[in-house]
């Protein structure tokens, strides 16, 4: 059973290469996108931290800014 799944009548190399390439492409795209997201979010948090209280209060009046600061999920 395992041998059949691995070797697939001599087509195993082609089938597994295609699936592994696809999954690696998915993983790479996911990691790159996630890194970009975390980088921008950290930049936003750092910039927000440098604002004085008046400007911070003004920035926080926007829903989207509050969402970015409150959303701790990194996915």
């Amino acid at each position: 059973m395992i041998n059949e799944i691995l070797f697939m009548n001599g087509y195993g190399f082609y089938v597994w290469s295609a699936f592994i390439f696809t999954l690696l492409s998915f993983a790479t795209l996911y990691v790159v996108t996630k890194i970009q997201y975390i980088r921008e979010k950290n930049k936003f948090i750092a910039k927000f931290g440098n604002l004085n209280s008046e400007r911070a209060a003004f920035a926080k009046s926007q829903n989207i800014n509050r969402e970015i600061l409150s959303n701790t999920s990194n996915i």
Partner: protein, 237 residues
């Protein structure tokens, strides 16, 4: 109606949705992989190499779907001056490009045992390669002009997608118009499909998994773009 799509209104959803979509993607992908690699039958002619279809075909469908959506969004965005549509289009491009590359590479891998060659300048393969070039031009246009005048980048990217969309029906009908190595379509929405249900089911499951993945990447990219805009907004405060 377009006001519904304003970033301020939808960020609440787009920022929370990815974790649920990721979970759903993992579940659907696991089912799809089990079906595609273990449970589905081998083909009477192509034997086990037919399993490559379960990654090659969904990738091709999704890349064509994404490019068509990008074109539609760019045209509507340009006519009605909706900047957010360009942002959505820009966020769709990376996953569309990766799916295009997956379709080309897995097609090449499938070609070796089936046709005896890794590559042929066949109408379908060549037109898919041209689509990849349009994706590259689109992504490069954003990279080069994205930080300059927005009107310029909106215009250039719209032109690229409008020119590129001409290629989409060519990809679809290339197997009917020219004598190519590719077989004609096995799945037809308007007429009876020639694919057996035991192969159609895993194909649809894998397509659903790929669609979920592209949605996940789109949302992550879209959120990143929104935060980038907000970063610029903080600079101006």
């Amino acid at each position: 109606m377009f006001k519904f799509f304003e970033p301020n209104k939808i960020f609440f959803i787009t920022s929370k949705a990815p974790k649920y979509i990721f979970l759903l993607f993992i579940i659907v992908l696991s089912i799809g992989l089990t079906e595609a690699l273990i449970l589905s039958p081998e083909d009477y002619k192509q034997s086990h190499s037919v399993r490559i279809m379960y990654v090659h075909v969904p990738a091709a469908w999704i890349t064509l779907g994404i490019f068509s959506s990008m074109t539609l969004l760019s045209i509507i965005g340009y006519i009605f001056k909706i900047k957010n549509f360009f942002l959505i289009s820009k966020s769709l491009a990376p996953s569309g490009f990766v799916f295009n590359i997956i379709a080309l590479v897995t097609g090449s891998i499938w070609g070796k045992p089936t046709w005896g060659t890794w590559w042929a300048w066949d109408a379908r393969i060549t037109s898919m390669l041209i689509l990849a070039l349009f994706y590259i031009m689109y992504l490069l246009a954003w990279k080069i002009y994205g930080n300059k005048d927005k009107e310029v980048v909106f215009k250039i990217t719209s032109i690229i997608t409008i020119l590129g969309i001409v290629n989409v029906p060519i990809i679809k009908y290339s197997v009917d118009w020219w004598n190519t190595l590719h077989q004609p379509a096995s799945i037809n929405i308007l007429s009876k499909s020639s694919i057996h249900v035991s192969m159609l089911f895993p194909l649809l499951i894998m397509t659903a998994a790929f669609a979920l993945f592209s949605l996940l990447i789109f949302l992550m990219k879209y959120n990143t773009e929104l935060i980038k805009i907000k970063n610029k907004g903080l600079d101006r405060l």
